[in-house]
């Protein structure tokens, strides 16, 4: 009986020590593998106004993801996330139609990001921007 108890106690100790060792070894490996937060470029971006003609779109990296800046025919500036809300493909700009087309499953978005057709469930996310002295600041 006493032996049984001792055995159990030792077993628990060994299990505990093993678990602790596994955590001690596993945590560094996890941190080593985990992507760094805040990685992937600035959360603010400045683009000169002159860089974009009317009806054109410019794709760029923004906060670790893809984004697009467009100047509509009426001269309005819009910044949107370029990540399709369906399954995450990057949308393309169709200049002739002045709208976005997702090449993966044919999702369509208008210049302000609203869904015009296809499977995407939500509009493209808008990114705030300000224009000061010929510079567009995004973010």
């Amino acid at each position: 009986m006493e032996n049984e108890g001792r055995r159990k106690f030792l077993g628990v100790c060994v299990a505990g020590a093993t678990a602790a060792a596994a955590v001690a070894a596993g945590y560094p490996v996890f941190r080593y593998l985990a992507p760094k937060s805040g990685q992937g470029g600035a959360a603010k971006l400045v683009i000169p106004v002159g860089e974009l003609k009317e009806g054109d779109a410019k794709f760029f990296e923004f906060a670790g993801s893809s984004a697009v800046l467009i100047k509509t025919k009426s001269g309005e500036l819009v910044a949107l996330s370029a990540v399709c809300t369906h399954l995450g493909c990057i949308v393309q700009w169709v200049k002739e139609k002045q709208q976005f087309l997702c090449p993966c499953h044919g999702g369509q978005f208008s210049t302000d990001g609203t869904v015009l057709g296809g499977p995407p469930p939500r509009p493209l996310a808008k990114i705030p921007l300000t224009v000061t002295e010929g510079n567009i600041t995004i973010g």
Binding site: P28, V29, R31, Y32, L33, A34, K36
Partner: protein, 365 residues
């Protein structure tokens, strides 16, 4: 829960039978000692090298322009990158050291003798392969140390008559060590050699299982049944101690002791695998002073230096290595107790002392 899983597996694939045959029913000589667990320690070290190596590959870039930067990035930026890299670098040194101990114990206990000649030969092959994987990995960080140590090491092949210069060029992938060298060394280090080593380890273990483990020539009463070269038979140890749980405990003890030493080096002597040149990016136009190979190559390095001709130095080493590799075929008396083999014992001790002396000399010169 575990018991049910075990039963589930047993019903399907008969694990019980395997356990019975390979673990609880696998009997070892009663007088087995601690030194027999070094093989398990080496398996653990090798596994750890493979794991840390795979992890390093995530951030390491095998490109001459980027290698040094990527290693610096691992060391300074990646969370715990220093730990993974140190484990890999220190682990490689430890692997060579433990391998040497493993071979010395085999040597002193005469376990290499018939019928285990092939175990010795595969083990010796593993030593050469481990040296090769260490040498090729040494270039990876593309530091001054890596670059010039590799230059010196590959250069020694030029002493081979006739084909020497061509051989050096072939090894380097060019006239000098350069980006092509890194490419081929990296492929060898990370793809070719690990697979070959794993395969030879497999063969080594297979041989161990077929022949049966040797009994130490001393200690408590032996269970030896001497080998007679009449017919193949498995050398069992009836009445011996079971591998599981008895010897597994010894294996675990040895592995724990190993980890204590290993981690002590990693945490308290992190500079062990490096010299100051390891922190300077490779510069093909500037040879640093006092470039030296790793400790386990120092004796070879010194031998090359003391002979007037490189060819002679190289031949002496080749002869010594061949002699050691073929030892079981040369030394064929059945006696295995070291104290009953005074000539052999003297030679072994003299050999070790010579090796140490050459290494120290190489280090100091």
């Amino acid at each position: 829960m575990l018991k049910r899983l075990y039963r589930w597996l047993d019903l399907r694939i008969g694990v019980g039978e395997i356990v019975e045959k390979e673990l609880t029913g696998y009997l070892l000589p009663r007088n087995i000692n601690e030194w027999y667990s070094l093989g398990s320690v080496l398996l653990v070290i090798f596994a750890l090298q493979v794991i840390t190596g795979m992890l390093l590959m995530i951030y390491y870039v095998p490109d001459a322009d980027k290698a040094f930067k990527s290693v610096t990035f691992i060391m300074n930026e990646v969370p715990y990158g220093w730990l993974i890299r140190l484990c890999h670098a220190v682990g490689s040194n430890m692997m060579v050291a433990v391998l040497i101990l493993h071979m010395l114990s085999t040597l002193l206990m005469g376990s290499y003798k018939a019928p285990r000649e092939l175990n010795w030969v595969t083990g010796f092959t593993l030593l050469a392969l481990v040296q090769g994987i260490s040498l090729t990995g040494y270039l990876a960080p593309w530091s001054q140390l890596s670059f010039w140590a590799t230059t010196v090491a590959t250069n020694s092949a030029s002493a081979v008559p006739v084909v020497g210069p061509y051989l050096v060029e072939f090894l380097r992938g060019g006239k000098l060590v350069g980006p092509p060298t890194l490419g081929r060394f990296f492929a060898l280090h990370a793809a070719v050699l690990p697979v070959v080593i794993a395969a030879v380890i497999g063969a080594h273990l297979f041989l161990l299982k077929r022949t049966g483990i040797s009994a130490p020539p001393f200690g408590r009463e032996g269970t030896a049944n001497p080998f007679e070269a009449q017919q193949y038979h498995y050398q069992g140890h009836p009445g011996g101690i079971p591998f599981f749980p008895n010897y597994v405990l010894q294996d675990l003890t040895s592995i724990s002791i190993y980890f204590a030493v290993f981690l002590a080096v990693v945490f308290f002597w992190p500079g062990m695998p490096f010299t100051p040149d390891a922190f300077v990016p490779a510069d093909p136009f500037k040879t640093p002073a006092h470039i030296k190979p790793e400790w386990y190559f120092l004796a070879n390095y010194q031998t090359l230096k003391i002979f007037p001709s490189e060819l002679l130095g190289l031949s002496v080493q080749a002869a010594a290595m061949t002699f050691l590799a073929l030892l079981p075929f040369i030394d064929r008396s059945p006696e295995r107790h070291p104290l009953k083999r005074p000539v052999f014992l003297t030679l072994v001790i003299a050999g070790i002392l010579l090796w140490i002396a050459l290494s120290v000399w190489g280090h100091l010169s």
